[in-house]
Subunit: 197 residues, 2 copies
DNA sequence: TTGTAAAAATGACCGCGGTCAATAAAAGAG
DNA sequence: CTCTTTTATTGACCGCGGTCATTTTTACAA
């Protein structure tokens, strides 16, 4: 008979996440070292890896959490009324991911995970994002603001593709460059969703 | 007075690449360990890192080389006559990259590098691929087989985006799945290049 | 040939993510 | 309160990529 996870364990997990978040706050994602996390949380290294599969597993929770918060912001803005407004809704997400390559790499690694364990926050985030995009695209199609010759699911996945493409390029160049990801995304979405004439 | 790189050094570099390629042949890219490479090449570890910036730098040469060979194949096929034929030309590339996540990750890291040092094989490969795609798209536009309302450069970059998207998803799922990347790419390219009516 | 400065190669060493057999702490059973 | 079983934690240890002060080799001048 398997038992439910005990209270003490949950507290440890919470403390690990809390300390990790604090370090990220101070040093950024790239500055996060497992040894620092466990030191601050006052546990041994092995403990961390009994709570999270690996360092990425820990990051996935932190980042997934943030993605969910960004989604709240997106939804709060209400349904966009055209392609340009949709781009604007995506801007915060791009800004967040664009701030550190670690975020990008991790999201990319999980971005295709449509199935999988629902307790993984990051997966939940993706499912919600795709669902939200699809819903919005349906509305835009109904309003005749974007093309209607393709199913909204395909268009949504296409948007994901352009999002990642733009970010990938962003991380390859020196950032003195003045074009932020959100701005670079525009021409792609305009072309991809081009309004029905 | 700086001197040109000496013969002996070039031989060492060549031997390192040769041995690395052999190991990849046997164990795949994921199985490549720096220690094995230097052991086979009969040099110390530090030597490898004086020839290549890091492990990725070594892989970049190996993979970039392979990408160039694939490009030869693409060009040998001649210019495609419609979107479907273009997809077919890209299939070998997808098959190659899809065989190991290491290849994908590395190509993605370099994929935005449009400028940079021309002696990097992998950069050369990308420039050539983009140029080739652009040229083909121009021809297809001229022939009226694809949309003409967007510059071929934008369409080419879009294709890159879909390529990476499809591959990203591919690596996220169990590979018992029967849909290979090339097949998954089709609907995107059809939609993205949708023929002028 | 010999002296010397640049180039090339060396390998001990480090950082850091991740493992695992051993140990401690909790949770019932009697 | 014991004894036993499950759960949670520990920290020494490992693998592997990457560094750097030191040593060896090479090229060239006197």
């Amino acid at each position: 008979m398997t038992r439910a996870p005990q209270k003490r364990r949950l507290e440890t997990r919470a403390r690990l996440l809390e300390m990790a978040a604090a370090i990220v706050q101070e040093q950024g994602y790239s500055g996060l070292r497992v040894e620092d996390v466990v030191a601050r949380a006052g546990v041994a290294k092995g403990t961390l890896f009994s709570h999270f599969k690996d360092k990425d597993g820990l990051l996935a929770v932190l980042i997934g959490d943030e993605v969910l918060r960004l989604l709240d912001g997106m939804e709060a803005g209400g349904a966009p009324r055209d392609a340009a407004e949709l781009t604007a809704r995506l801007a915060p997400h791009l800004d967040y991911v664009g701030q550190d390559r670690v975020i990008f790499d991790l999201l990319l690694r999980y971005s295709g995970t449509t199935a999988a364990e629902p307790d993984e926050v990051i997966t939940a985030g993706f499912l919600r994002q795709v669902a939200l995009l699809t819903r919005w695209l349906q509305l835009l199609q109904a309003a005749g603001r974007i093309r209607r010759d393709q199913p909204p699911e395909l268009l949504a996945e296409g948007i994901q593709a352009f999002l990642n493409h733009v970010l990938g390029v962003w991380f390859c160049m020196e950032h003195d460059d003045e074009t932020p990801p959100a701005r670079a995304l525009e021409p792609y979405l305009q072309a991809w969703l081009q309004p029905a004439t």
